[in-house]
Symmetry: D2
Subunit: 433 residues, 4 copies
């Protein structure tokens, strides 16, 4: 993560201050539960809540950690400075550091998910708006980068909507994957801490108890979480590559926003570069690169080794911050992107009428012409369009055999654009309901 590609709301989740606040809440709720169970005195549990509104002093905790070489002990020591060391002496009883660390990580990932869910919802809104706006804006569909048949710009936005809507469902499932907590002691047997403590803490933090943990929460959950972020990033790449193609000088069917008449910083008005979407292409790679290490993290030795920890300290903030930034940037791009319908028509007509050749072929065979003859009739005219850029419809109208087969009106009818857009409503209904 670098500041250039981050937003404050998501960065805050990963700040040390946030982490300590969550640790505090875990410990305080655990004390409450232990007091209720009669394991520790009620007054000690109550005393912990005195620190409820404290902003913990990160520098002070770091100072203590430099001595204790242990982050959780450093925090507990600092907590005792606020609560009183006698009052604090039952804090963390029977618990292990990972109970705090892992539960905290999941709280952070849940919060990050909530932001990402909002991000996706915003992106969906922008995509839907543009889809409706350009529902009937005709452009040529392309396979292999080559003109195929007409479609509409709205369908392009609609398919991105449908894809991101699937991602929203995946993200919600991923959120639930990592919304568990564990307060189960050194190796997960609850030997020194009652399972009801775990239940209480999880309920208070909006988590569910991990059914069976070791010293740690199992990492297949996190692997799945990062895999979903990787899929979302890949879908993002799918969208931005479309925009980058649209903005090519030769295509110019759309562009990242700029005001046409603005005094550019460059002498070259054509040199409006799709740098935001290119940037998003790179950011997609950065999110995706976290998937494999997250999967490598799953296999731990026995009840845990700590190999996963350095990986997660890095990829948990990096992947969520980068994706949050990227989705926001993408929403801005979609929301404001320029669409050039006239260029779309001009491109489609680069070889006038040629995109209709398949339909003409089909009509000829349906009219009873043999497949071979039909091919030959279409081919000889299509080649002239291709080589001399003549108008396909006019050529067909001048071709006696074709006229004999389809009639003049029949030929003209084949160039009706609505033939290609007649099911746009059907598709929109499927996508937007």
């Amino acid at each position: 993560m670098i500041p250039r590609y981050s937003r404050k709301e998501m960065v805050d989740i990963w700040e040390p201050a946030t982490k300590f606040k969550i640790w505090y809440e875990i410990e305080a709720h655990a004390c409450d539960a232990m007091a209720d169970l009669g394991v520790i005195p009620r007054e000690n549990a109550d005393a912990v809540w005195k620190a409820k509104d404290v902003e913990f002093d990160v520098a002070r905790i770091d100072e203590i950690e430099a001595v204790t070489k242990h982050d959780v002990i450093a925090f507990l020591t600092h907590l005792a400075e606020h609560v009183g060391s006698d009052e604090a002496r039952f804090v963390h009883q029977g618990m292990t550091s990972s109970d705090v660390l892992d539960t905290c990580l999941n709280v952070q990932l849940v919060r990050a998910s909530d932001i990402l869910i909002k991000d996706l919802e915003n992106l969906l809104a922008a995509l839907k708006k543009r889809a409706l706006e350009h529902k009937n804006t005709v452009r040529v569909g392309r396979s292999h980068g080559i003109h195929a048949e007409p479609t509409t710009m709205g369908l392009t936005f609609a398919r991105f909507y449908a894809e991101m809507d699937r991602n929203l469902a995946r993200l919600k499932a991923a959120r639930s994957e990592i919304s568990t907590g564990a307060i189960s002691g050194a190796i997960g047997t609850f030997a020194n801490v009652d399972p009801r403590v775990e239940e209480h803490v999880c309920e208070k933090l909006g988590l569910t108890p991990e059914p069976i943990s070791t010293q740690v929460i199992p990492r297949d959950r996190h692997a799945m979480f990062f895999a979903v972020l990787g899929v979302i990033a890949s879908s993002m790449e799918n969208i931005v590559i479309e925009i980058r193609h649209m903005q090519r000088t030769e295509v110019l069917e759309g562009a990242e926003f700029f005001s046409m008449g603005q005094k550019g910083s460059s002498a070259m008005p054509h040199k409006k570069n799709p740098i935001l979407t290119e940037n998003l292409t790179g950011l997609a790679r950065l999110v995706r690169m976290t998937v494999i290490p997250a999967m490598e993290n799953v296999a731990l030795w026995h009840e845990r080794d700590i190999s996963h920890s350095s990986v997660e300290r890095t990829i948990a903030p990096d992947a969520t911050i980068t994706l949050d930034f990227a989705l926001n940037r993408l929403t801005g791009v979609i929301d404001k992107m320029l669409i050039f319908p006239q260029n779309m028509l001009d491109n489609m007509n680069k070889f006038p009428g040629l995109v209709m050749s398949q339909r003409v072929l089909l009509a000829l065979t349906q009219a009873g012409t043999s497949r071979e003859a039909a091919y030959s009739m279409v081919q000889r005219n299509a080649l002239k369009v291709w080589e001399e850029r003549l108008d396909f419809q006019e050529l067909l109208l001048a071709d006696k055999e074709v006229v004999a087969a389809l009639g003049e009106d029949g030929i003209r009818e084949k160039f009706d654009m609505e033939y290609h857009t007649k099911h746009v409503d059907t598709i929109f209904k499927r996508v937007f309901g």
Copy 2:
């Protein structure tokens, strides 16, 4: 995929013959729907079903493809050889090759998922059996490869069960991700084929219609599918690394099955190697390596480019065949693996009683001893266990300060193993219900 690591049932799904059979069904059902819509004559649709029980001749199709350079056209040509070329002339009308290819791929992936689901269910059964069998078999829990506190072998199996049960849920979700079909024409507008054809074909094949496709079904679905296989493979690695550790000469708490008295092929009876689980470690990498290319496949140019195709021709069979083989191998390993409870006890008692040191410490502080004093009391005795391998309990009973604090019975009670296993039932209930 190599024969050594494959099972027939899964391999069959990816055989050319299977593929052609599915292509045939797609085309035949599509003809039916078109006939119902009055787009093609009913008798032509009926004629296609004449080939219902035909085993298509793969070599013949290959021969035709060598000429036509197009696999779907080659198949259609061969189909006409069975059905009659006049009768077959409406087959595939208005459709595009990808309608057939993509719908077929998803049928294959669904079938592969069904096998993998069975595989996971078998694995779960084996894990559950061993968990119940060793529910109370005490062994030492380890963090960082170092002894921590007692746990049971059953808990180890139970946590693998819980992890694989999550994977089963993920796999079912992944199956539903890729169980869509598309018959939407050259760029997905249904210009030349009615959406009701798609609906009919999908219904017949057990798929749901892709709400919005281009020339292809969107590849975020497949990316998600392979990501889930990657997570399952990683969980598998988590299980086998435990077994490999258990089988180490110095640990020997468990082993892949061999009959103890058997005449080995080697002079060294200790040289029973965990080669199946090591092999599974490698197979996990092979499944996992398909995740990134599947994600790179998501971003296609406009309405499709064909870059994803060569990737999927390889990874779809490879990942499913490898994972199927691996899960079956793992189930066999789990089912028959040898467990050595006595070695578990011997290992735990390598430093006699030391695993109870944390509990004694806790007891001392609860008995009112200051944290510093308690530490010192535990530490001085624990060190002797560590260095001279004396018995911790006896040392404590000989330490006046400790006896003063806890009493002799109090000390003895701290070495009660049931303290550590008291919540095994609770956890089993969470996992197995």
Copy 3:
């Protein structure tokens, strides 16, 4: 690896028959060395060479392996069937299976490297030919997909040449990384086999002795090897993405070969798809996906575990066969690709003269105009080119302020194409010498 994407020469390297032949040579040479050292009788060593011209019976060896469950033992048993079991009894003495397996793998990788080296040399020849051919074919250079300044098609080919030439050097280094052999016994101590045996076998097979091995040759070598294949594949992707862009309907500056007048199989002559280069984009991903597992293979437990083996059985053939096929396909594409110089000029002149705007700007500032004034002068004319597609040169010639600054001849001179190509020779000299 699938047949569709493979060439016989490379496939043969990975056939069981090839492997057994290499195993045989290793064993026979080892016997020779042991006889020279007086460790085994000379006549037994000589006897082994009786099998020199034998084609080993793969099915028979498989049959034996089904019983022995050990591939090397199965081979040795079969060898004895040819040589005589008494004569063969010193074969493999003091050696371990991995001595044979690992040395053989490296022989195969060296041979695969030699084919890949030839592949790259052929590709380089094709690139050079096309570079020289189009050294001065002017086309517009593009950054961000947007027109920038003129360049030549030859420079494009030349930079691909330079990149692949670097890859050739890398591949040669990678070849030397894996051209070692080891005959060092069960854990690499040479306890039961003299180091001179290793030296002799390696010399005969064109390898160098691994300075220090365990049971296996260290896997950092193989990781490096596959990493280099991954880089080559990525460079290949870099080339093919250029061609795919060139072939877009709107750009059409080049295309995969087809004869312009040929009777296409499709009614749409514009629908000549860049399917070979799209296919190569996918194949690049397949080669690249082997890099991470090869790196995960490096960390083995103690003197070896066998986790790397299943990975290598798969990726060694797959990556080399796929890359060999891909490089050959790419060479064919480059060799025969169609170049459309007129379209290049047409594209460049889509906004007539605009690519010269930067040069005009520079000239104005050099002529003493302030940067701001120069910008304004260029900008106002450039915008008219952009919006109304007027001719930039004519606009400037009609702009009094610009004429005052540069003079009419000075303006015309700025549209001299040779200004942009004047260093093509210099660059070609750097690349081709």
Copy 4:
């Protein structure tokens, strides 16, 4: 990169201040060359050097960038504030931003390489020291985690030395891969800047001119660079996994440093965890995850797109900082790690004499016993060692058949440890010369 895993020397390379300093040097040297060529006035070139000792004000440059939206322009504007805007007006003439950015990136990567080279040299020194120290410290070699035959601790260190020495060579090659610079203008044609400017700048910065660039330096170079870092990280993982195994409670042949008698922070003296090497396992994953995105960066559109940039802004600092930190940590671990020779012997003798079984078998066959009989003789005695932990040598001495074949002295001789270490010198010579 996070502070916890970074060292100042490497972090400094990636600080904005360093970057601006390098940018400055590139621009100043370029001005010099242009003045020499008579392209710009000498006094303007000289004036730029006035800023030679300036610490550029990063905050001020950020402030300007917030307005100009362009980092290089922001820097040039700030430079003019130091040099005088009139004096500075020829700075950057004919150059493109990437000339500065890419050349600077490579300067930074070269400097990072130099640190990493030093790191590897330090690691090599530590490994060599420990190898020599424990050259003859006998321990059991293990394959599959199972005891095989005796080896020495020195050989373990020596093989890590050899592996890291290969990595040093690879790193030096990687350094030379990325030690090029380019000052070739907007699309690499040198249209507006003479190639001699590039030559001069490169010479001054210790780089070589990129033979052929576009707007950017080709990214196959960087892909190769990161691939090498990935291999080094994987080798590091190979080393640390050995240490983690050595420190397991049941093995305890070595450990990360701690003073045996020290007052631990924990009550459990056996709970000395290998957290540094576990941490390094995770850091290896973090370095390795940058390899694939670096390879995905190679394929750029035409003369460049900017998708690679966000990736490199992240992975260039992250991978070099993490690897630098990790190599230093590893060197410390190696340098100070505790070795427990007595435990090594105890482990080897867990099944007394059994590691010699293979040698006995070999001796029996060499003495003329048939293979089957020899097996049987070894097997029946070995099984008793395995099951009852009796002494293998004594059993053999009591087995009449064995005594008949080998003689009592012959049996005893087979248990001579020096048989296994006799080639340690040979191997050390190969590794250390």
